[in-house]
Assembly symmetry: C2
Homo-oligomer: 238 residues x 2
DNA sequence: CGTAGTATTGAAACGGATCAATATCTGTGG
DNA sequence: CCACAGATATTGATCCGTTTCAATACTACG
């Protein structure tokens, strides 16, 4: 399951890192920096539905998704689940609080991730400001994405939420298929838990989108966006 | 309005910075680091309702709230407002995207903030990994707070959202008054825009809380929590 | 091929949004 | 210091969409 990471890889490559706090142009890591990171990391493969770590377990490493997709979620006391994030290529996960992970992370399909043990990573960041700046930029980007999500979670309409989800998927998975169709790695239930609405509402909302000829399905998880204009309108912040 | 920051200050003091990515104990800045930051910063005072910066204007500086409170919000196309965050002592604000601020920030009452011009701050962070690590920790904490908020925004019940807001205020403003009462700096409308529910729903929810003797009001903005146990139950993630 | 998990569809009820009227607060000028 | 006006907040009635409950259909994996 573990093996040493090969040298050419998207780990911390520029395309995985968005442009920075502000006005700063995007930047690449130096070869040396990338090599340092790679020397710390192992590439780990997870089987579908495999748990990568559990909430409340001690933090041992930080991960960067290399391939496939995963979900980070919490179990609420009511038994409900909230999906905090879907994880795609380049996404960082494994942050914790008081030395414990806060979410449980599970692979959706087959998934490979770089695993960066926490202690040596921290040591490296503490001595290489330039490298750390890349991480900072990444986390700042995460903050913005979460602000956006918070705004969109404030809205009531199920169809708006689903539209927003489809946009996100489209952005994330563009080019997965030649014909413009995208295949979602997660179940309807996962989508519902992510959007904070019920499974039934997701079902009804997607049905309406299909009836309006805004999207089309080929199988349960393969979606084609037919009318991007109207999808954008629905997803727009009310 | 502008004046040079005095030397003793909570700017980036440890108590304003939460414990770090993981397992790392909280740490202080060295005197030298603090001095460096102070040499970059100016302490600025804003009058109630004064706009600190507008969304879409070019990013010039990053701010740390020193005293008072503010709100960061966006105007949606519909004319609605979404309050993205309330800003209290120690909170960092002024992150942007593509060189532009994404939110508008406005002082609620009288407010003072450290203003750190972006360019020199970036240069300093890029050369001092230890200092930057404190910033990273801060931003990571922000990510967690936003994840929490996202979860709570997913819930439907107005009373639950208001309870959660009261908890937040309590945590933020404890010790504002000797008698345990807390005085909120923001209006009902701001609260509604923050929670993503209507003003009317906030009004009705607070009324129910008062009727259940969970909280009490002395004036419109001074709140006493009478029954913390039941408040916690209501605020608990459903 | 069957079974357990996953998804669709329908009917009813609940709760927040909306619209509308009234009340209260805040800050300003007389 | 008071009175007034505009902004802010409360309260009520109705509407609409999502949740909930329940039954049925689908699908994936052994």
């Amino acid at each position: 399951m573990h093996r040493k990471a090969p040298d050419r890889s998207p780990l911390l490559r520029a395309d995985a890192w968005h442009d920075v706090t502000d006005g700063v142009t995007r930047r690449l890591l130096t070869d040396k920096q990338r090599a340092q990171l790679l020397s710390l990391s192992t590439l780990v493969t997870y089987k579908p539905k495999q748990i990568i770590y559990h909430a409340h377990s001690p933090v041992s490493a930080i991960f960067v998704c290399q391939n496939g997709a995963g979900k980070a979620f919490r179990e609420l006391r009511s038994g409900r689940r909230r999906v905090v994030a879907f994880l795609f290529q380049g996404d960082l996960f494994g942050l914790g609080e008081h030395g414990r992970y806060v979410n449980t992370v599970q692979a959706l399909g087959e998934m490979t991730s770089y695993r960066l043990p926490f202690e040596p990573l921290e040591a490296l960041l503490r001595q290489d400001a330039e490298l750390q700046f890349n991480v900072l930029a990444k986390v700042v980007h995460e903050v913005r994405a979460l602000q956006m999500r918070t705004i969109l979670m404030g809205r009531r309409s199920a169809i708006g939420r689903v539209a927003m989800f489809l946009q996100m998927m489209d952005k994330q998975l563009q080019g997965t298929r030649a014909d413009g169709a995208l295949s979602a790695p997660m179940s309807r239930t996962d989508v519902a838990d992510y959007l904070g609405i019920t499974l039934e509402s997701v079902s009804r909302a997607t049905k309406r989108l299909v009836q309006s000829k805004i999207i089309a399905f080929a199988g349960k998880r393969t979606i084609t966006i037919l009318d991007r204009r109207r999808l954008d309108e629905l997803a727009a912040d009310e």
